[in-house]
Symmetry: C2
Subunit: 355 residues, 2 copies
């Protein structure tokens, strides 16, 4: 048993692993593995329908929004969003809050004018910009709710006169959001939804179909909506495991309950980072992420030692991204608070050793 603080693909609940392994052997008393069933069977159609229902329930998705499951991760959404929403000669507003936001901007530029209305790039993305206004003439406003690499999170979203498009890959299902405030939400599954290989898109139907561009079928949201996520063969197993995981979340009390737990987990670790003289946080306190907690050591020469000290205790996945250095503890929904306490204890032990 490891303490898995990896940034993603990441920890999922142990009971989900057990149920998924069972379904690989035999799915739902069908006499077949989940890996050999047709996506056109009533049994699998029920899985897709149930997964959609869980998304709608857990996030209180209002009427007028479609929920679809695609492939290609957030990276493909970086292109699909402008392809579907940004008409030729139109402009869109983006905030640049990290590597992934930056990639979204880069892909957007292939389709129209991208105005970066706020950026924390010059400060190595250590904070979330707040002092900006979303222009009325943008086709949409794009933001990234949580910046995995830098450990910052948007705790509030700006008022916007145009549809808000948000990459929620690394914090969806971790806290309450008001879906009605968004035009389109997308998320690669591999943090709090399920295993890698499926992408969630929640889109307000009325923002689609307003541009003239001819869109390849597989990149057209409307086609996937009409096909009910089965325009082509979907990633069967990834959707199935997402269903198991969202069921687990629902049984735990849903998003409000997990948000409380996530807050408690984050507070416990940030308290130690702020208290322990060997460690310090890397970003603005008010913008700290509850999902990815980045920290470094006052004495960088100790970082290699601490990494080994932690790994010897089966704590894995805490090496920071190369653009920040130090450490990153990712604390997604399935990470138990006991793992956080264990990491805190380890930091304290290490500090005592080096007192």
């Amino acid at each position: 048993m490891k303490y898995n603080f990896g940034a993603g693909p990441c920890i999922l609940p142990q009971e989900v692993f057990k149920q998924a392994a069972q379904a690989v052997l035999e799915f739902d008393h069908t006499g077949l593995s989940i890996l050999e069933i047709s996506h056109r069977t009533p049994e699998f159609e029920a899985v897709v329908a149930e997964t959609e229902r869980l998304v709608r329930t857990l996030l209180n998705v209002p009427e007028g929004y479609s929920v679809i499951f695609l492939q290609g991760g957030a990276s493909l959404q970086f292109s699909m969003v402008p392809m579907n929403l940004l008409g030729d000669g139109k402009k869109a507003a983006y905030t640049d809050t990290g590597v992934w936001a930056n990639k979204a901007i880069k892909e957007g530029k292939l389709f129209g004018e991208i105005n970066v209305i706020a950026s924390s790039k010059d400060a190595n993305y250590t904070f979330i910009p707040k002092d900006y206004e979303v222009p009325h003439d943008a086709a949409y406003f794009h933001c990234t709710s949580n910046n995995t690499i830098y450990g910052t999170e948007m705790h509030q979203f700006p008022k916007s006169p145009v549809p808000v498009v948000c990459d929620m890959s690394s914090d969806i299902f971790s806290r309450e959001v008001n879906v009605a405030d968004f035009g389109l939400i997308y998320a690669g599954a591999q943090k709090n939804m399920g295993p890698a290989g499926v992408t969630l898109v929640i889109v307000k139907d009325e923002i689609l179909g307003k541009i003239d561009r001819k869109i390849p079928s597989m990149l057209d949201y409307k086609i996937h909506i009409e096909g009910e996520s089965m325009y082509n063969t979907p990633p069967v197993f990834s959707i199935y495991v997402s269903m198991l995981n969202l069921k687990w979340l629902k049984a735990k009390g849903g998003v409000p309950a997990i948000a409380q737990e996530n807050l408690a987990k984050a507070r416990a670790l940030y308290a130690e980072i702020d208290r322990n003289p060997l460690f310090k946080g890397t970003c603005a306190v008010e913008d700290r992420s509850n999902m990815n907690i980045c920290f470094v050591m006052e004495n960088p020469e100790l970082e290699k030692d601490f990494l080994k000290f932690a790994e010897d205790r089966d704590i894995i996945g805490i090496k920071g991204h190369r653009s920040v250095g130090g450490f990153r503890a990712s604390m997604y929904n399935a990470l138990p608070i006991s793992s956080v306490h264990f990491l805190v204890d380890t930091m304290q032990e290490f500090a005592e050793k080096h007192a």
Copy 2:
């Protein structure tokens, strides 16, 4: 235990299911599920490298070709192929041999001029056209090696003065092909490679990078080649199970050995279709597929009865596609010949009952 003749996602070897289920519980003595490991770990990088090596070995992929694993299935390839290979104002030659070929043509038209140089559409795709020449001025020639819905297969490929692009989704790894004859081969995994969720592309490097169009990163073959299939988070589990399945194939003697088995399986069923007065094949004998065997009944009123008769014997997935009717028995690599014999016996029993 079922006799799974489904068209895809389809049967894979039982031992692959067992190994995959085990890895969902614990992957390779890591203390972690395959569903919670980072794609950037050395352990998973080794999986991708080994899967690529298996593809190269099993298909004798020559030097100068890249092997990559993508998402989105053949359906996304219908767009990626022209996006990467068909310059503005250029034309490409396609054959129309079924529903999927037709979709490829439709998507191609968004990017340039598509010349359909041969079609069997007017004959409900019951044969493979052979009487055509691939024009010298086409950017590439596109064909579909096996037509799942209609049960036809290209047993020979035409000489082509331009790169041949082939959708091999439903017969790759089932028979020997000379990869050097092709510019690009693509295949959704969910027949003979692995579970749904990953797409194989084998491309001759020198045909890429020759057009001016700006291509979104996720749709650019060169970017995925440079990223060694890890430009973004790959479909970890689908790649892992593909590796297990290709290992199984290699241990069986590779493609030449399985091709012999597939031929024996197909001959056994076609022999019964041709012998049994109740049944008849639906397509030209010389173009019959060894993967998907389509047949109807002389008396269509008996079809419902036969379907039930077969299902009562745990034979599943044999209902024909609505565009052909009757029956389709898909006999992918993992289907044992004993299942074919059982289907043949069932057809004979049914015939005796209705003599």
